[in-house]
Subunit: 219 residues, 2 copies
């Protein structure tokens, strides 16, 4: 799948999932129409991530949903993921690309225009831009770092690769992120901590698709 | 270098080094005659480990000293290390081998005969066995888990790949580990936290070599 089709993007974190396994959350998100899953699971040991990754790879492959691994290029290779997502403190995009080859998807986190332009120049296929609205997924929220839909728009103007907005995004506030030029939105808690993760995914996907349709009709 | 020649094995951890960089410690250990360096740096971010790894690779390659990366197969590939060392919670030995190829060194931690036999069957080139004497390098020492030279001997009897003893090893107590059948000893603090890391490496190497010579003369 092309990252320009990453409309609804689930980032996994079992520690933020009340009483459900990541595999259950992923299966529900697939039922709800998710486009791509990122195996994150910060703080978990490598063996567990690898074994979980094999299971998640099976259900995502069957559903035609992309699977991206956070940070670990080796885990991505080992579970035959579609690609990797690196942050500013992870391996450089160019190194991930060299290890994974030209066909793999390499995404990169960026919160400024400068980071976004550098990641694009380094060979990134898409950008995760945030935190758009702050986040409930980190222990210490840093609201002063929120980039807002305005920064998403500035980055979308500056680069030609697709952007996914992340950080505090819900079905209610996803519209302005897409209007700002994002191809989609990435969430942890909105799906993972929802009473009904499939319904939450469907609601998010509906907002993204409706906003894109409205924007297309306007143009 | 064959892992059977890993007599003196430095495991790096800058956070345990008082006022010295890992690069300085590695350079001193090379002066003192170290055989192999493992880039560990638990808790550090990937980018930092990668950049440090490139520097350590340069000085170790120049000195003909092997470089092994803890846990991260991707970092090992990215910095052109000689191999990787995996623990029981890291990627399986067989997966590391598949990613790195037949020429790479793949080491594995083992504290029981069962773990040692499984790692050998899985394709490990050497074993890190410990904690031999407890350790000062973990926040919460677990002395009840010390394996002692006796367990080193039991594992050396059970497998045919080389063993490196780790955990609380010093120049004073390394002899019994080598007498038990270890090819060498691995240390963090003994070198990293020493007043003179080069002298500490030399003292450790002297104990290992003297013990091996005495054992050979006895046989």
């Amino acid at each position: 799948m092309e990252p320009s089709n990453y409309g609804t993007y689930l980032v996994t974190q079992e520690s933020l999932s009340p009483g459900r396994s990541t595999l259950e959350v992923v299966e529900a998100a697939i039922d709800g129409g998710v486009d791509v899953v990122q195996l994150r699971e910060k703080g978990a040991d490598t063996r567990w991530r690898y074994e979980l990754g094999l299971e998640v790879r099976e259900v995502t492959a069957e559903a035609g949903v992309d699977l991206i691994v956070n940070d670990r290029v080796d885990v991505a290779e080992a579970i035959d993921a579609d690609g990797v997502h690196v942050g500013q403190s992870d391996l450089p995009v160019s190194v991930a690309r060299e290890l994974l080859g030209p066909e793999a998807v390499v995404g990169c986190s960026a919160s400024t225009v400068a980071e976004a332009e550098a990641a694009e120049a380094d060979g990134a296929d898409y950008l995760g831009v945030g935190s758009v609205y702050g986040t409930t997924s980190k222990e210490v929220p840093e609201p002063e770092d929120d980039v807002g839909p305005e920064r998403v728009a500035a980055i979308a103007d500056a680069v030609s690769i697709p952007i996914v907005g992340i950080g505090g995004v819900t079905a209610e506030n996803a519209g302005p992120v897409v209007e700002a030029g994002a191809a989609g939105v990435a969430v942890i808690s909105e799906i993972t901590a929802a009473d009904d993760p499939a319904a939450a995914t469907d609601a998010l996907a509906s907002t993204v698709e409706r906003t894109k349709r409205q924007a297309a009709e306007r143009d």
